[in-house]
Amino acid sequence: MTAKKIDTNNITLTIDGKNCQGSKGDTILTIARANDIYIPTMCYLTKVEPIASCRMCVVNVEGVDGMILSCQEKAVDGAVVTTSNDAIDKQRQSIMKLYDVNHPLECGVCDKSGECDLQNKTMEFDVDQQSFTTRDQHRPVQNWGFISYDPALCIMCEKCVHVCTQIVGDDVLAISAGGYNSTIINTKQDEQCSNCGECMSVCPVGALVSTDFKYSSNAWELEKIPASCSHCSATCQMSYEIKDTAIGNRQKKIYRVTNNYEFSSLCGAGRFGFDYANESVGKDSEAFTRAVEAVKKAESINFTATITNEEAMILQSIKQKYQTKLICNEARGYQKFLEAFCSMTGKSLYSGNLKNLSTSRGIIVFGTRINDDNPMVKYHITMASRRERARVAYMHPIEDASIQSIVTQFIKYEVGSEEGVAALLAHTLLDSQKPTKAVQAYLDDLDIGNLSAESNIGEEELDALLHSFDKKRGFTLVVGADIYTHPKAENIAKLLGLIEAYSDFEVLLVPPATNALGVALLCDLDDDAQGYSVGYNAKANFVLSALGDGDLDMPALNQQEGSFTSLDKRVVPTNAGLSYGGYILNDIANALGIHTINTIDYTVKLPIEKGYQSIEFDDLPDYYNSIGEEHRGYLLKQSRYKKDGKLDEVSTLPTYDGSVVYHCNTNNQFSTFTNSCEQLQTEALLRGSAQFASITKLQDGAKIKFELDGVLYERVFMIDTSMKGTVAINPSFDMGLSSSTVSSYRFSQPKLETMDS
């Protein structure tokens, strides 16, 4: 016999007579699904660890006594698996019989009817009568705010509990075990639940349903429009589900948002923030003519990064034709940061992505209040923390109570000292690596003691950090929006670029707004506005607004088709959930002589040199395959970048003594658009700790006003007992067109004036 060289990672097994390939460590179920073999399950959810509560997935393996749970059993090379025979079918049927015991026969009114796993499997396994029973009990419906829970309908599959702990990380749901009396309990009620609705989306029956959607429509009446969430840069996969508003109103309305919950997730803003469309807009030709004139004579165009790639291309075309300055405060800092970053790494993009983040064993979060800035990144950190037992170091001036369950080390630094922190990080993480001589010399020259003192990070903290990453694989550094607007952002970018270039760390530069990465790549942005200006969802002399308060109405992002560039460096397509009757940006471009029939005709023209591909919008794929591989749009191509970055000396770190205000939206709020959604509406408060209150001498509930970047904020001050320190949090989601004006460093020290009530 000749010894074959066997790839130890690949295994082959026979499932129902079919030869199936898989890799070592895959479960039988995963391999079966990858090979299009059907094994029924009730509790299995791909995105979490196998729950193994339903036992529907039983299979026979030759040579093994009894039945085996295919969802958690790792496949063995050469195994012969049978997924269905009389004994197995009988077993599955008895399981369904048990599930159906006393299940209320209210399919007629149940929201889940038509897309219910229990309904489907009951039919599939031919359970047409109930042959045993148990004494039923009174189990009233519980209202948990966004979600209501009906214990009578619950089949205890535990999917909700697992997503809540393994994906979301809120640990709100738990199981109250007690045989037939078992229920899901909400352990923390409102305070800690981020209202993401993940539990509701994975519920196979009608036990967890949206309070807002409840009983308003049957599942089969809704038309699904595949789209991408437009609220933050994660641009998650989702579908708008639309139907006529009412009998007397044939205008379509978005009833709810669903997603491919098997493989992807959504945060609360994505799931409940869908009703921000600019509705009942007609073609106002006079306003349109004025808009065309305004764009023609404009010297600068202000816009937000909450636009599609195609719109960014249109704006860029307008710039090329009229030499208009393009001002996008949200994306400009990010663009400069990315350029400086790439000048050190020699690659055109950062290397981190969400999937790798979720399998990292060591994670550092730097310069972002991540749970509020980008919940999807937080979900992926949670996955890493819960599944890979990742060490998570959270570096920020403000401690965040909402993520303390996943953070293993909180490193607090002084406001404004980010440059020093970046230098310390680079020094620590490159300690055992081999950077170039110049870099090594630069690192050796750093005055570590001084930096450590000024930024208030103890050297022992960094030692502990390095020590905790010992003997681990897979590292990600998550960098957020605090840094992009920092006065020394470029040098910080270069320092972080060193980490990407010379250490094992993958860096994920979280874009600060929905399409900030797209705008940064597609538009030549300018720093300062001048002269007459036109604003697109931003304050200017002439305003084009999707909020309905401008000089010409524009469609909101759920009324547009196009693509976004996500933080995963993926170009994802989105479709119009609702129709729009007015003029769009492309109409203005056409009137200016930049001719394109549809906005989506720009998709194919996205610049190849920036990593985009020449693919028609209609050819962009948008699906997950049977094992959850993402086929949405395409990934940007990484190319070489001129590696010419020069590191500056770390300058004296600025000091922010006394009270500081941090600009940050609250969880589930990203912009004016999310705040205009009925379910998400919240009051914008200036939240600070008791310490902040004592420094500023503000009472709880005091009315104050202050000015930031030329915008006047009038706020009620609230003492948040979960916060510590002297930094208060100020949101801007209620500021309408002004919210995009925030362009400077997120920490500031405005003069707080008390207003007479």
Partner: protein
Amino acid sequence: MSLEEFKNRNVGEQSYKMLDLKHTPKSSMGKFGQVVERTVKGELFVGLWVTLREMGNALFKDNMHTIKYPLEKLPISPRYRAIHDMLRLLESGHYRCIGCGLCEKICISDCIKMDTRYDENQRKEVSEYTINFGRCIFCGYCAEVCPELAIVHGGRYETASEQRASFSLFEDMLTPIDALKQQKEYDGFGAVSPNADDNIKQTPLAY
């Protein structure tokens, strides 16, 4: 009936009674004779007498063969499928419709539409329900699919209207609450069979 018999379309072969009609005269003399005969014989008055007699019966003996439509209407079969009725629960007076949407889904002419909402009692409430009788073909599927016997076919067959909008609304079809006692259990199309009780299977819930 065998298939052969079923397929026999030759109606003339069956037991029809043929009238003894005389031959049509061919000659002109014959035609003249027929005219004279019909004129003199007074057949006309036979017919007129029948009319007069029936008029007398109707006026004085109250014995009428026709009905005074639209003042009077003939009774129709419970299986007749005319404008729908919406029934109420006899005990509570609440309408039976649970808003499941099956009638809306099954309707082949796509003329049923309903809006539902979550009401104060945590129940599904039908906030609006319409049937477009300009489109309805009275096929009876809605009544058959209804799990609650809430929508049934009534006997109101006069469906002419100037506007589609005035055909019928949920409230028009619903049994008036003050007429609840007069509501009869529907025994027409889609109703439970008379021996429904015998067909019910005992479930273990009757412990």
